[in-house]
Symmetry: C2
Subunit: 400 residues, 2 copies
């Protein structure tokens, strides 16, 4: 029983994801696949376009055998926290043989070379990093410049894409955890994550979402599998999505005008705090708020993470209290997934959560899990049907 692990969001699942999954299976030669997937809020720092159960169904239809939820605390944090949470969770299962992720060039060696420096921090690198940070540029940029000094490589190209940034973080986490999971990478196909154009064979999830928000499902048919289309169509008909960050504009602007404490939130520095409060006096919309704040120093991604954590009442202390997820929340599985679950039950130390009503009995510390419950209760405020509440307790596990 060889088991492949993947870390996904499927927001929504498109042809590029399908390609990646098939390529990963054949590269790793695994016959079982486990996905750790973001729940109702994702790493971009916003709600997913449809909820976690709908995206779990997409995952199973695509050929994933078991879907486990990445706790929202990690799913909505920096690339480093996201990766650490997801890799630690996969590692804690004690059954995963390979982790396969996309990267721009599909070259695991050049990524490992970078990671070695980042983890070991040899003196020339550390010195350079320190110098650059003094000049007030972002950490990401300082790191890039410092790496350039010690590696004879096209370091900018490698670090500029979000796929590679995540890839490096996955590798860092594996190394840190001394995990036996073997990393593999697949060369990513299609346009960059940030491209919003729909053309060619593949489209990015961002461009697909943008087109769905602007014009519905019609334009994106060639870029998503038929099952994704059907799941999205049915969801939208029921008034369950597409969910955008704008649905939470009133809540967030209101909270900021009420001077909800920002200093308790991860990655908030004092200058940024005041910028955010001030901007909340100037607009009623989140997208405009972000535009007002973002700068070279404060990236859009950082602001989004902060706002999402504010929305979900996620305090930075939670990252100190936990070293990775303390539960395995099952979102869905197929028959092969049941076999994997049996293995996990035998080999993992973490409690497996299938019946939500039992969570208090199963967990010593419920804080992280209750953030997932709250995230769902916030997410469904965007649904047309106002009686949809407490969905984590009511929604069945997805089985196909």
């Amino acid at each position: 029983m060889k088991i492949l692990g993947v870390i996904v969001e499927y927001n929504p699942l498109h042809n590029g994801h399908l390609y990646h999954l098939q390529a990963s299976k054949s590269l790793s030669n695994c016959d079982y696949t486990v996905a750790v997937m973001s729940g109702n809020f994702v790493q971009r720092g916003e709600p997913a376009i449809v909820d976690k159960w709908k995206r779990t169904l997409m995952a199973l239809k695509a050929g994933i055998d078991l879907v486990i939820e990445l706790p929202v605390v990690y799913a909505t944090s920096t690339a480093e926290n996201f990766a650490y949470g997801a890799v630690k969770l996969l590692d804690s299962l004690n059954v995963i043989d390979y982790l396969c992720f996309g990267s721009e060039r599909g070259n695991i060696e050049e990524l490992l070379e970078i990671v070695q420096i980042l983890v070991e921090e040899p003196p020339p690198y550390k010195q350079a990093l320190k110098e650059y940070l003094k000049n007030g540029i972002t950490f990401a940029k300082a790191r890039e410049l410092a790496l350039k000094k010690v590696i004879n490589n096209e370091i900018e190209k490698i670090l500029q894409t979000s796929n590679n940034i995540l890839a490096i973080e996955y590798l860092k986490s594996l190394k840190k955890l001394k995990s036996p999971i073997k990393p593999l990478t697949i060369k990513r196909k299609g346009p960059l994550y940030t491209s919003l154009e729909l053309k060619g064979e593949f489209a990015s999830a961002s461009s697909i979402r943008k087109h769905i928000f602007d014009r519905g499902l019609k334009d994106v048919e060639n870029y998503i599998p038929n099952f994704t289309k059907e799941i999205l169509k049915e969801s939208f008909l029921k008034g369950e999505g597409p969910v955008s960050f704008e649905e939470f504009s009133k809540i967030l602007i209101y909270k900021l005008r009420s001077k909800a404490p920002l200093e308790d939130i991860f990655d908030v520095s004092e200058g940024l705090e005041n910028k955010i409060y001030k901007a909340s006096q100037l607009t009623n919309r989140i997208d405009e708020l972000i535009k007002l704040i973002k700068s070279k120093r404060y990236t859009e991604s950082r602001i989004r993470h902060i706002l999402t954590h504010l929305l979900l009442n996620i305090d930075k202390k939670i990252f100190e209290e936990f070293d990775g997820p303390n539960y395995i929340r099952i979102l869905g599985f197929n028959k092969k997934g049941i076999e994997i679950l049996k293995e996990i039950k035998k080999k993992s130390q973490l409690p497996i959560i299938t019946k939500i009503s039992h969570y208090k009995r199963k967990l010593n510390n419920v804080k992280m899990f209750e953030k997932d419950l709250f995230a769902t209760d916030v997410y469904t405020l965007a649904y047309k049907n106002s009686s949809i509440t407490g969905l984590d307790f009511k929604h069945p596990i997805i089985k196909i």
Copy 2:
């Protein structure tokens, strides 16, 4: 210079209001009129259908000379607090000769008789009240039954309408303040406040609002002056209203699910607190939330006041900190209004606020005033144009 005072909401101003204003002027024989008006949130415990500047314009067009804002802390509280805040404000002006209000029967004597008992609390009344309260019925009902024991009168009829309840509270406040303002009452015309039918010569503001929300302005033309219609039409075209409580459903349900402390809010008892938290887990809408909670014991009105105070972050402590409004916030005036303002400047102890940017200089305690500013910033979250913010600082005083 004889000056009439009225306490209004004009939500929106309709023909019944117009009748009341003209009748009050002729009964009091005054040639100047000052209105104390609720701002962006009203006594029903919800947002006004259009903002305070639009309703000020209606008031001036109807023949009011000077419009003063009733601080939101009082405007959104119980009948007792509402009346006390408004009467105290009128009294503090030191220029008002008469206060004229509507009542169902237009009989000031029978109202004064009731008020005497309520203020002096003779032993038979006090005893009876105590007995009834023991049985767990609402204070309003216990008071009614106790009054019935000591007054030979159709007390139920008198106390059952919100107009009379307010009338009694106005008289109580005048008595408490030993105010020189002479009370007058006009028999109310048209259907009861609670009637939602549109028929006959007059319609209630509630029925007019309901029809506007359901079907726009068409049905209500016969019940509102033309200027009201034009002001509403223009506002709606700009996406500024009609504003309903539902616009704030997400914020309120979110706050309740976040366990925002209810115990700090006026009129919250422990049983009610838990009922409200529980109900917030069952629906995403405010109207449904209220339906789930309301009972003989917890009236809809009480729940609405609590939710509005939660929305506006109004803590019950503010009622202890202040004994009535500590400022005179001018919303609008005509030429005669300027004359009244000159008189007020001479005779009143309270600071007059016309330029909002000066409020910190003018007020020793800014807390109550800042609640008005915050209320406006919450209110305009319901506007289509997302750049409308900080309106108290930007909107000119209404002058005609």
